[in-house]
Each structure stands twice: as structure tokens, then as C-alpha cells.
């Protein structure tokens, strides 16, 4: 399975949402940090896609998985805003583990 791309994507988007503080009330000091973490996780999802799908299929596979994880985040965020971004750290851990499995 290549779920790690989607997990990194979800965690990354969750942090970007935290960083914007519109749907989630985040302390201003925390926002810029969340933004940086968010972009780093998006980058991680691309690297994971590269690792898993090889140079040719990586881009379409990455965009597809990233889109689906974004849709999932928005759906959860719209219903349970506080809980949507909470699991980003365990998700990142699982994604990392999947990368090295």
C-alpha cells in the first residue's frame, strides 16, 4: 500500500489550515510554525510518492493522493473543526513508518 503519501498530505494540509487560523483558532505565534511544518509535510508527501511510484508516475500519483487527502480533511474540518487537525502527528509517524517498511 502507498497510503503514506495521503497521510503526509492530510497532515500537511491540516497544518496549513492551522497556519491560516480561519477554520481553526490557532494562536498567532503558532501559525507561522504550523505553516512551515505544513509545507514540509507536503514536500515529504512528494518525496514519498517519488520513492513509491518512481520518477514517471510520481507526479500524477502524488497529485491524486494529495487531492483526496485534501477533500478528506475539508470534510472532517467542516464537521469537527477541533478534531480534524489533532491526529497529524500520529499520522506523520505512521507515514514515516510506512516509508521504511
Amino acid at each position: 500500500m502507498s497510503l503514506e503519501v495521503a497521510l503526509f498530505g492530510y497532515a500537511g494540509f491540516a497544518n496549513l489550515a492551522r497556519g491560516r487560523g480561519r477554520e481553526l483558532r490557532t494562536a498567532p505565534a503558532e501559525r507561522s510554525r504550523a505553516r512551515i511544518i505544513g509545507w514540509l509535510l507536503i514536500l515529504a508527501s512528494f518525496l514519498a510518492a517519488l520513492l513509491r511510484f518512481g520518477p514517471y508516475q510520481a507526479v500524477p500519483a502524488w497529485l491524486a493522493l494529495l487531492s483526496v487527502s485534501g477533500v478528506a480533511l475539508v470534510l472532517v474540518l467542516s464537521r469537527w473543526p477541533a478534531r480534524a487537525s489533532a491526529p497529524w502527528m500520529p499520522m506523520t509517524a505512521v507515514a514515516l513508518a510506512l516509508c521504511f517498511l
Binding site: 496549513l16 508516475q57 464537521r79
Partner: protein, 523 residues
Amino acid sequence: MKGNGVRQSMAWIHGWLGLLAGWILFAMFVTGTASYFRPEITRWMQPEYRPRPVGNAEAARTAVAWLQKNAPHDEQWTIYLPNDRTLATRVFTRARPSPDPKAPRPPRRPETRLDPATGVPVEARETRGGEFFYRFHFQLQLPHPWGRWLAGLCAMFMLGAILSGVITHKRIFADFFTLRWSKGRRSWLDAHNVSAVLALPYHAMITYTGLITLVAMYTPWPILANYAQPAAFSASLYADTASQKASGQPGRLADIGRLVEAASAEWQGARVSRIIIGNPDDASSTVTLLRSSDDRLNARSASITYAGVSGERLSASPPLGPAIETAGVMLGLHLGWFAGPLLRWVCFLLGLTGCAMVATGLVLWAVKRRKPGAKPFFGLSLVDRLNIGAIACLPAGMAAFLLANRLLPPMLASRADLEVSAMFWTWFGLAGLSLLRPARRAWIETLAFSALLFAAIPIVDLVTIGGGAFDGFFLAFDGTMVLLAAVLGFAAWRLARRPVDAARPRRRVSLAVSEVREAMDVA
């Protein structure tokens, strides 16, 4: 075209492009999304057919043996080898043209599906299977070529709608994660934005590559500018066996299995997906093997041609230039054959996101023009009714297609056509009946009916095929049907829960404020 700003003009054209093509686009998106599982749907629709899987070389041998017995003197045979998703070998034959030059070229005969292990035609209920949704999504069940032209026009409208939508949506990043429920038209706008923006790369890709799949029909003019004989263009792309002349001397084909193994070895173990045999009973017969494109993006596959009698390797397809490679990759991205199980499901979900984008856009058009308390004008009622017919009733038709497959007697003559009729009668019949009900009730009831039909599929499956349904594949298929029923049921439940317009008056003040803001966003 209100105002002169590019955002205003694009918002205006976005609305009309989306509305005019929206209903057909929705049907194309839904059936196209289902087509990601074309082989699986076919497999589910022939539950009695469970062959013993055999190797590629063996499947090629049994197919050639059957063809030598049943169509020995034909001009060309095409054999699609089975794989782990398509279980049967599919063969097509084309008869030799009559010597009279004025006689029309004989058409390709319909497909025969063979059991790979035994080489006899598959004995199972007659059905069009997943092929039906696939064909419908670009032919729209209209006579050739009108269906393809209409589908192309709608795809072109979609491309225009995507481009104008991106230009007009000025807060793409600000609204990236914003989805608010139960806020009337604000919610519809959010849902339309989110489903469009989050999967934008997919929507743009699937629309453009969809046009590319039929480009030779839609814009053949560049071919005419470069080739005196238009057929020479496709001959330079595909393995061309039609130009090989028969010698007139009889000849016998060498062992096909050995050629399949040789080609596969030359491709570092990649599978052979298709075999084209020209002049099979002639001394100068040719065997062209095409490489499977399941493991790469480019759907236009490499090929090797062998002499049929001696088995000598004659030629291989030339390496591709960047333009042909681009076109092949576009084709591959649209078909999604490269996608393994996870990616295929992801593509399926993205396809559903596309359906949601079109559906929310259609609903939004109507919601934006509805005045609380006022009687809707004729155009608005018409759009509302067509929305119900397309969005809420089409799923019922598709479920009816699958249900008919189980409920019609397996050996009934012309049952394949009856399954198709079941889909259209249910779809249009339900849409017609919904006219008898007030619009809001019609939405709820048709959605609930669609949900019920999908929920009925696993039950009917279990009753009609019994223990056969307890197989991983059939359980997964039936489970998916339950999930689809849940999604449709959820939509019906959400609509039924919200009281008609009771919430409106209390919010009038804030609504007025947000309306001004929206007028700026949406134009």
C-alpha cells in the same frame, strides 16, 4: 457579460457553460467514474464464470487454436490476452475483403470471449457489463457519430468552464479549506468551490485528456496538412499489419506461445497485452505483439512483429518522439490502466469529486436565482426539474441496470439489451414521475429511491447467486454498493431534515450582508 472586468465576464460565461452542458457532463462523469472498474463490473455481472487462470503463453495458444478452427481464412485476428482483472480472452476477427474492389470493406466482427484455459467461448449470462457504462460515457447511447460529437462539445464546455472558473475565483487560496454546512446558498458555493479547487489538477487532466482520446475525430485537420494519405499517420503510430500482402501460398503459424515468451523476455518481463495476426493461413503471415501498458503512464504501447511461419523477428515499433509520447501519456492518464488498486480507488474518489462539482454547480445555479417566498419563473423550474432528473434519478437507473442483471433469467434471449432498457426506463421513468411531486419532495424522494435501489443490490445478489456471493470480490463489490446507497441516503436525509424555508427570515439581516459579499465573489 455584466461589466467589463475579466472576472465578471468569466463568471457570466462560467455559469452558462456549466448550465448548458451540466446535465450531460454529470452523466459522463458518473458513468466514466464507474468505468474505472469496467472489468470488475463485467466480472460481477457474469457470476457463473469463474475460470482457472493460466499463463499468457497458454492463453495465446488456446485462442489461436480456436481461431484456426473457426476463422481460418480471415485477413486479421486480434487477441486481447486476459490479465488479473479481465478473466476472459477477447478475440476479434476481420474477414478477407472480397476481390471485387467496389464491395465495401468487411466490418470487424463482434467480440468473442474465450476461456483462457480451454479455448472455448465463455458460457455465462449475456450482458454488456462494464462495457456499457464505458461506451455510454462518450457515446451517450446516441447513433454514431452524434454521441461522440455531443460528448466532445460538452467536454469542450467543461474545459471552458474550468478555465473561466479558475479566472473568476479570486479567493482560491483563502477559501481552500472552507466548507460550511446548513448555510443555504453559501454552503452550495462552498461545496462547489471545495470539490472543484481541491481536485482541480484531476478535473483539468480528465477533461483535456478526454478530448485527446478522440482528437483524431474532433480535429483531424493537422493530419491532412502533413499527409497525402491520412492513413499513413496512424500507420506510423500503430503496428501496421494491414499493409502486409498475402503471398497466396498456404502456411502454418509457428507456436504462438514461444513468440509471446520471446517478446516478454525482450521487454524485461513485461506482459504481452494484445496479439494481432495478419493473414494467418498464409506463408507470409505476421504476428505483432503489443506490450502491456499496465505498468507505465503511456497507453500507446510498444510492439514487436514476427514472421508468422518461421517465428523470425522482423521489426519493432520505433522509439517515440516527445509529442507522441505526450499524447500517449495523456491517453494513459485518462484510461487509468496504470493505476494499481490503491490509485484506482483514488481515481474513483476523484471521479466522484468531479460528479459532486458538476452537481453542486447545477444546484447552485438554481439556488442563486431562487427568491424566498416568490414563485419560481419558468426557466428556474425547468432547471430544477432537469437537475432532479439528472442528479437524483441517474443513480437509480444505474442501480436498475445491475439489478436487472440478477433478476432477469440467465438464459433469456436478448437479456443484454433488456438490462440496458431497464436502466433508461428507470432513469427517465423516475424523472417523469418526480414531476408529479413538489420540487423539494421530488429531490428527497428520488434520492431516497436511488439509495434504496443501491441498497437492494447486495440483497438481490445474495438471494440470486447464493453462496457464490461469499467471495472476496463479490463481497467488496456489494460493500461498495452499500456505501453508494449510504451516500445517496445521506443526501436525502440532509434535505429532508432541513425545514423548507423556516430558517430564512431569522437570518435575513446577515444574509443581506453576505449576499453583497457573494455578489462580489460570484459576480
